[in-house]
Point group: C2
Chain length 328, copies 2
């Protein structure tokens, strides 16, 4: 295993310390239990909390700040955070208008966030993100939450900042989830530090189609083809799922899994843009970069969100976090 690491057991803690120092103008790190929250907090608005296993950076701590999350609870690498983290975070950031949890659909995350929600005194609700269309809709544990999570956190974060109440934030979050679909392709596995070797083997001429973000294999192994063919393939599944009408306004997000350079991600964006432009969509907003990663996996995903005017306005609203920043 080749990584910048001293010891898998202390990687997360040291990395969080570095993150908090590098962004000390925006966030505060609390330990025992671990959570990252905004430095400046405001009373009277709904507080947004997310979290999940680490290894997906900048998700979620990189999205804590004005106009997005109030706190993030990082678990160990690819491991759910525990309910005490969520409770401590909720206690720190609850401004009296309730807490909204944004949860990616993984069994451990769902269970622990549910437990926290039950223990929490005071109004709270949860939005479950399940945007990964590589699994069938009727999959026994449901579809996974992947790169669409960022879109949900941005749009609902802006709403909370603007004073939407808890019910309105929850309902908006559900609406964004319903309007969002993602699918990814991996060119390589990733190496979980505690394991010390790639989580799966893949040949030089193979790709994994329909991967999640935890180094698991995809729904199928395919042959390495051109970027255009890869884009056609995953865009096709998203298109089929959302079935957008001609002229539909959309946000197109190309997300790198951690080891794919920007020069490739922008190429993929161009190809995906052409794919949907041909189908008459109105591609109004773009997000290209590595936002929901899977450690050092090479690969990327496409996410499409069907935008209405409210969602577009909230997407454009000011945001000031470590990883997403505009308008302020």
């Amino acid at each position: 295993m080749k990584k910048f690491i001293d010891n898998p057991a202390t990687l997360l803690e040291t990395s969080l310390q570095g993150f908090a120092k590098a962004h000390a103008d925006i966030v505060e790190l609390h330990t025992e239990p671990n959570f990252v929250c905004r430095k400046q907090r405001k009373k009277g608005r709904v507080a947004l909390i997310s979290g999940g296993g680490s290894g997906h950076e900048p998700l979620h701590a990189g999205f804590v700040g004005y106009g997005m999350l109030d706190a993030a609870c990082p678990g160990q690498i690819f491991t759910s955070p525990t309910p005490d983290q969520m409770l401590a975070a909720a206690e720190a950031v609850d401004g009296g208008a309730g807490v909204l949890f944004i949860v990616k659909n993984y069994a451990g995350d769902v269970m622990n966030f549910e437990m926290a929600a039950e223990m929490l005194v005071g109004p709270n609700a949860s939005v479950l993100v399940n945007d990964d269309v590589s699994l069938p809709k009727d999959h026994p544990i449901g579809r996974r939450g992947v790169a669409g999570t960022v879109i949900v956190e941005k749009i609902v974060g802006a709403a909370a900042e603007q004073g939407y109440d808890l019910a309105a934030c929850k309902s908006l979050g559900d609406r964004v989830v319903g309007a969002t679909a993602s699918m990814g392709i991996a060119l390589s596995s990733c190496t979980v530090p505690a394991l010390g070797r790639p989580t799966f083997e893949i040949a030089e001429d193979e790709i994994e189609i329909g991967v999640g973000i935890h180094g698991e294999r995809g729904r199928e192994t395919g042959k390495l083809v051109t970027a255009s063919e890869m884009v056609e393939q995953i865009a096709g599944h998203i298109q089929e799922e959302l079935n957008p009408g001609a002229g539909q306004a959309v946000l197109l997000h190309v997300n790198g899994f951690g080891a794919t350079p920007l020069v490739e991600l922008h190429l993929v964006y161009e190809l995906a843009w052409q794919y949907w432009q041909k189908r008459g969509l109105n591609i109004q907003r773009a997000l290209v970069g590595s936002f929901t990663t899977s450690l050092d996996m090479a690969g990327c995903s496409l996410t499409l969100t069907l935008l209405d005017e409210e969602m577009l306005r909230l997407w454009d609203a000011p945001v000031n976090t470590a990883a997403l920043r505009w308008g302020c």
Copy 2:
């Protein structure tokens, strides 16, 4: 070679199209010859132009925008741009107060930017960036320009925005270069698309110490050690070079080479922070992320800039580019 790519011959062009579409609010792409410039231009200020081989994204096109570059000239992957690109860019963005070229010290870049400067009608000057301390000061072609380039472009970009004249921008740029030192370590090689295989072989227990950003070997091959030992090693060379006094204000930049995840970069930041904190430095600003990359190379570099009050104020000034954005 496993990449999102259709054809090495069209990769750059397609990627630039995607980049320009994804950031159409900030930049415009011109072709034949290729350059990226700001969408909104203002007369009467010094225009900053940089450029170099592609494969280092987001450098340089990702830094075109308010408060930073006016234009960037991307060459083919790891290949210098040609003088006609720089001339066309200069013609497009010259606002009547002269043009400042920011050039990384590579033979081809230097030669072509010099040629452009000679052909350009109107006042112009150049700042040569040579922050890589892995080569000796008296190296025959001088030290390479690496991740410190971003610091130069940001600080001088803010000065140009604030109305500094050409001589003042040039002198400030030289001062930032003199106050900046970088050194990097690679854990892997990178694969240039036209070549189709890694540019060097490296064993599972080896690292390259003192690498540039073009997939060349480092000044020495070492054994894989802990992140702390790697940081000590490269930070030591930087410390020796700059020899900062106790209490010196600095900006500490950890730059990923393209395939190193943020969780590792933040760990490296924490270790480098500890290294310089122990030596009494006042670490006032941080920049952590993959800003000057080497395609899909795994690795990172440290850059330290000794800040004075003017440089700090200019670093903090508003910037609105694809890859660096704050205060606006």
